[in-house]
Symmetry: C2
Subunit: 221 residues, 2 copies
């Protein structure tokens, strides 16, 4: 047992894990196997260990749920309303992560019955204050579209400009002008031609691009 002179809260890290699939913005949810909210969908997350930094806790949860590492992960906001967990005082440091569409996998999560990707506009009822966390993550993502190249994080290794445009459209939920989009995105100087073409039966061959430096998410000024 651990003893303290004053009561202490628990601290968790929860992650909103976004991806783009079928031209839709989706997020990963797990079905809770234990009380409270047993059987309900929730964001993946867990307790921050005493010997790990907050970012490390979020990365560990991400890896446990998806097997994925090395993707874009950012702290979102800390939620700490007194009654947000019916059991005890739990303060959660929320993160969001962006997974490229070609790296979507799922592993059996240790504390969940099931896990699945849900389109943002068809989310099930969520446990705890997770609806508020998801809302804020989505707002942050949309806001960042305007002044950063954050959306590039969703792209697979190589992609066409049309595919990139579809990603922006899916997040913004609006149709963009093709010519303006191409001009804008090429002027950012963040993607480069691979020299290869994408050829499928449905459309004309299109140039394949790649992100110049995937580690870097540039702030557009």
């Amino acid at each position: 047992m651990y003893q303290y002179r004053h009561p202490h809260p628990s601290v968790t890290a929860d992650i909103v894990i976004f991806t783009l699939q079928d031209e839709q913005l989706k997020l990963l949810l797990i079905k809770r196997a234990v009380e409270p909210y047993k059987g309900q969908w929730a964001l993946p997350g867990g307790f921050v260990r005493m010997d790990e930094d907050l970012d490390a806790a979020a990365r560990r949860e991400l890896a446990e749920e998806t097997g994925i590492s090395g993707v874009y992960l950012e702290q979102l906001y800390t939620f700490g309303a007194v009654d947000r967990d019916p059991r005890e005082r739990v303060i959660t440091v929320a993160y969001y992560a962006l997974i490229p569409s070609d790296r979507i996998v799922l592993q059996a999560a240790t504390d969940a019955d099931e896990a699945g990707w849900f389109a943002m506009d068809a989310l099930p009822a969520l446990a705890f204050d997770h609806p508020a966390i998801v809302d804020m993550a989505r707002q942050r993502l949309v806001a960042k579209l305007d002044y950063s190249t954050i959306a590039f994080q969703f792209m697979p290794e190589t992609f066409t400009l049309t595919e990139l445009q579809r990603v922006y459209e899916a997040i913004r939920q609006e149709v963009l002008d093709k010519r303006n989009f191409r001009k804008w995105v090429l002027a950012l100087d963040q993607i480069e031609e691979t020299g290869e073409m994408k050829r499928d039966t449905a459309s004309r061959p299109a140039k394949l691009y790649r992100v110049r430096d995937r580690e870097r998410v540039d702030i557009i000024k």
Copy 2:
């Protein structure tokens, strides 16, 4: 004594309290009266109580240190490196607050020897990871200048356009063009003429303005 099956961290709220004084961006520091870092300057802050929300904890700390309430306060980021406090695991939810220049006061802080306002470019050595917290707060403030009316929060009840321009210049640390600044700031439609003039001996009479709705910090889109 409080007993837990697993070890628990402590959670604090620390606040970067900004104001503008003598055309300089300043922040409030307290001199620590207790170990660790006894005698060193630090951000005001303290433990989050089990029965108060995070924002409430930050507002309480702000009121205790400055006697001020009802000002702009925003959560900044949560800092939780394992070794950021030599005593125990302490995770701190950092906030920043903006104090109008006509409301600067100081009260004796309960856990501090002294308190004082320091110009951003003349800060003393700070305890803990507080230099990183201050850096991030300053970056957030500068970034927000571009897409919000956040700087209006620093203004006293009434002010001239020149005084407002000095505030922007102090935060950005650059000189702005008078005509462009006036055009831009009036087009935002967030301030209005009071009908009064400011008359002092040093300069020509100038129109006094006020913020139309101080509670609202508009995002400029």
